[in-house]
């Protein structure tokens, strides 16, 4: 349940550490709240000084407005068979405007609900999918 002003941890190697949600895209259901697999527009609040591993020198600085996809939420998400899954924090992975990943590696577990929303690229990079 990510909305305006929600903070999320960034778990890829793009350089950002903490982002704040500004808008949840394409959300006509759920009353405008974002969940796992939703794209959000966000502002970078905290960034690492020198990101390594980025291909063409994209530097993500504090104050950048980027897009991201939510990969973990603290609010329980229901699977089709009735199971619920809940993580201890909210986390996201940064994207560019064309729904492509900014970072090259993901460091942390992601929710398997991403596969249902069409983010197979994120799942393939994640070390563990629950």
């Amino acid at each position: 349940m990510i909305g305006l002003k929600s903070t999320l941890n960034v778990i890829d190697n793009s350089g950002a550490l903490l982002i704040e949600c500004v808008n949840v895209l394409k959300q006509k259901v759920n009353n405008g709240w974002g969940s796992v697999g939703d794209e959000i527009v966000c502002v970078v609040k905290n960034a690492r000084p020198m990101p390594e591993g980025l291909p063409n020198g994209i530097k993500v600085r504090r104050g950048d407005v980027r897009r991201a996809v939510i990969v973990r939420t603290k609010k329980a998400v229901r699977r089709p068979d009735g199971r619920f899954i809940r993580f201890d924090d909210n986390a996201a992975v940064l994207l560019n405007n064309k729904r492509e990943l900014l970072g090259t590696r993901i460091g942390g577990i992601v929710s398997a609900d991403l596969r249902m929303k069409g983010w197979a690229k994120v799942i393939s990079l994640a070390p563990k999918v629950v």
Binding site: R72, A76, D81, G82, R83, F84, I85, R86, F87, D88, D89, A91, G108, I109, A112, P127, K128, V129, V130
Partner: protein, 177 residues
Amino acid sequence: MLLNSLRQCARAMSTATQPYPFSKLAKIPPVLPSTSTMPREPLLKGKGLMQHLTETLATPQKRNWLHTYFARRHPLRIHPGSVLTVGLAHAPTIFSGVLLSVRRRGLDTSFVLRNVINRTGVEMQFYVCSPHLKSIKILQRAATKTSRSGPRIRRVKLYYLRDSPEKMTAISAGVRG
């Protein structure tokens, strides 16, 4: 002709009880004894429907689990604080964790397992009678008044474990060791 006689032999040896009068090739699956009898008259009117469903809707294995593992008073019941491994039909096929709470609602009984994966806490709530839940394995039982093994737990719902990772590691240390 030989094939026809073979077919008749196979059909005679099959477990079908009634022959289908309209086709010789139709396959008749064996009818379970409980479904072949008509339900009682009050049940047809709708009286006692929920109790009937509680008794018949879940598979016998799941009903056994509800009676033993998730009952309120049973010597084999699983106490919160035990470490379980759950086998599922879909991904992730195996999930293990500490039992935080059991929500007892008859057929809707569910339980929450908590685990720490890659330094992130994950909690999953499983419904006992779901066909996706294949197996439950108890890795470590929590201590009760009678048994001494395992950690000593004094609560029914262990939501305090979310705020103290050191207690989680204390419980899980017993499993590995």
